[in-house]
Symmetry: C2
Subunit: 109 residues, 2 copies
């Protein structure tokens, strides 16, 4: 499959927004290399590139909370991705919250 | 207002996801500097840092399609932002599409 994504713009990485395919909730943002995106499409579960550990990883490989791919979109500039997913598990965030975006600005917890 | 966002991690920029506060639709992703985020909070309309033009800009300053801020969230790592907005205008994308994420992978138009 040819992927018309511009990986050159940001040193081989594109941001990937993860959204619940039913509720529309935003779960997290991660970064994908071309390899991560291809693996995500091939396996049907979300893979990212870890900038801190400098390696490919499957979301949920340790926690068990995986992301099953429903649809994938690119934006007009082909430099970011939106993945609509079904959450297999209970939560996304390592803090135990369902979403990583649980801090409202000015009301941080 | 003190902003507990980690701007150092990515050369002063954080990705900001723009989501419709009612429908949950993802409109676009942009990048904010600390100045852009402060201006967004102060004015109540979304400002970004343009990486290509190397300047601050208000979304809609030319097109008229502005983004009125409803809520702002940061993620667990404090290195990305989710802005829930009301679209003032008809569309977000410079292509004329309502959202920038109109290309489904494998079905590009």
């Amino acid at each position: 499959m040819k992927l018309s994504i511009d990986f050159k713009k940001n040193n081989g990485l594109v941001p990937a927004i993860v959204q619940d395919y039913k509720t529309g909730d935003i779960y997290m943002i991660g970064y994908m290399t071309e390899q991560a995106l291809k693996k995500t499409i091939e396996i049907g579960l979300v893979y990212f590139w870890s900038r801190s550990r400098q390696k490919l990883w499957m979301k949920g490989e340790n926690s068990g909370n995986k992301l099953k791919v429903k649809e994938i979109y690119s934006d007009c500039d082909k430099d970011s991705i939106l993945v609509k997913v079904e959450l297999i598990g209970n939560n996304i965030c390592h803090t135990g919250n369902k979403t990583c975006f649980f801090n409202e600005l000015g009301k941080e917890i």
